[in-house]
């Protein structure tokens, strides 16, 4: 959309408008789909970017904003969509990808939390689900998926930042995503979930140190993506499983995606390494998004070639 500034952070109202405008301006390629409702009854939408074809296409899924305070994440989803739509005619790599693959992009998964972080508490992380008669709020949506739920690296106390909810998929936002992914899982090749911070490309699992069946290939592709990023932009990204290079945690969307059979799930932790942490200044949006775009398209390209 004209005048939309991709190098600034945008509140949810503007992101909703942006999504509507993106579909209107790119009708031949983009469809906005309803996904479900949040705890506070807000609609969740994702964008499908799909070149018309009589071929059955596989799917690349990307979600952003599962943790409210990680603002660079939704900024990247918007940047990604913009780059694809601006360049799909002129860039042979993107043009080839869209011949074989559909892109599904959820720019903000945790809408209520994101709005809360704009209006009330910038460092809010969780959703806005009320517990204990409204005396405590919020489930960590990335501890709420049905992947060894509640087993490790979580809290059962609502006041914790990593409260895992009252059960697997207890949260409407989790269920909305899980239901779509479950329905389309046989066509989804790649599940990308974008977070900050730390500068990591993470593979399964967080809930166990037992490696996934295709861990060598997952590592190879992630290392290729990280090397491309470092080679061109100089930023260093570490690669590995969450349990081996960070800490253990159960209930993550990425682990769940692999457990239901999606072969290439990755968690991206974007800039930086702590200098600004969750409060990454706007002047870092462009360099962060440019380097992440390269890493993401490297992964998608590998999957496409395969």
């Amino acid at each position: 959309p004209e005048g939309y500034i991709y190098t600034q952070y945008h509140p949810m109202e503007e992101i909703y408008q942006w999504m509507t405008q993106i579909q209107k301006s790119n009708k031949e390629l983009v469809t906005q789909h309803y996904l479900g409702k949040t705890v506070e009854n807000r609609p969740m939408y994702y964008l499908q970017i799909s070149q018309p074809s009589d071929k059955t296409k596989k799917i690349i899924w990307m979600d952003c904003g599962i943790h409210a305070r990680e603002w660079i994440s939704p900024a990247f989803c918007q940047w990604f969509v913009k780059e694809i739509l601006q360049n799909y005619r002129s860039d042979p790599k993107i043009s080839r990808l869209l011949q074989n693959l559909d892109l599904y992009v959820l720019p903000v998964l945790n809408i209520d939390g994101y709005i809360y972080s704009w209006e009330k508490e910038r460092l809010w992380r969780k959703n806005r689900s009320p517990y204990m008669n409204g005396t405590c709020y919020g489930t960590d949506l990335n501890r709420n998926f049905n992947s060894s739920w509640g087993s490790i690296g979580v809290s059962y106390n609502c006041s914790s930042e990593i409260f895992c909810g009252s059960g697997p998929e207890s949260e409407p936002e989790t269920r909305a995503v899980a239901q779509l992914i479950e329905r389309k899982k046989s066509d989804i090749l790649c599940y990308l979930t974008i977070h900050s911070y730390g500068q990591y490309i993470l593979i399964p699992y967080g809930s166990t140190t037992t490696p996934p069946s295709n861990s060598e290939e997952l590592m190879h592709v992630a290392e290729k993506a990280a090397a491309a990023l470092t080679g061109k932009y100089g930023t260093s990204y570490e690669v590995g499983s969450t349990s081996s290079i960070l800490y253990s945690n159960s209930g993550s969307s990425r682990d769940w995606a692999h457990m239901i059979g999606i072969p290439f799930p990755y968690t991206f932790e974007l800039r930086d390494k702590g200098t600004h942490g969750f409060v990454l200044p706007p002047d870092q949006i462009q360099p962060t998004c440019e380097e992440t775009m390269l890493a993401v398209t490297t992964i998608i390209d590998y999957v496409d070639q395969k």
Binding site: W118, R122, Y247, G274, G277, F278, V279, P281
Partner: protein, 92 residues
């Protein structure tokens, strides 16, 4: 977040790890990395946000245990204001 600070610490010994775990749990500090006190390890990065009223107390406690630290963010609110459009920042 006026006056809140984010500290970077790399605990060197088990004793320092235990002290930090105790501090984080008792004062309910906002752990940025890792997310749980039990994931604090010797030799690994720890990044925590300290609310302004607790900054002096926490730093004194770290000094007493000869735990060295670096101030990554001296005022969180200043950064928060930078990330918002002008008309939304608290100072505006």
């Amino acid at each position: 977040y006026d006056g809140d600070q984010v500290l970077h610490i790399v605990p060197e010994t088990l004793h320092q790890v235990q002290h930090l775990q105790h501090l984080c749990s008792t004062l309910q500090l906002d752990l940025w990395k890792p997310l749980l006190p039990e994931d604090i390890r010797a030799g690994e990065d720890l990044q925590i946000r300290i609310p302004a009223p607790l900054v002096r107390e926490v730093k004194d406690s770290l000094d007493q245990c000869t735990i060295s630290y670096k101030v990554l963010i001296p005022d969180v609110q200043e950064l928060v204001d930078q990330s918002m459009p002008r008309e939304r920042s608290s100072h505006s």
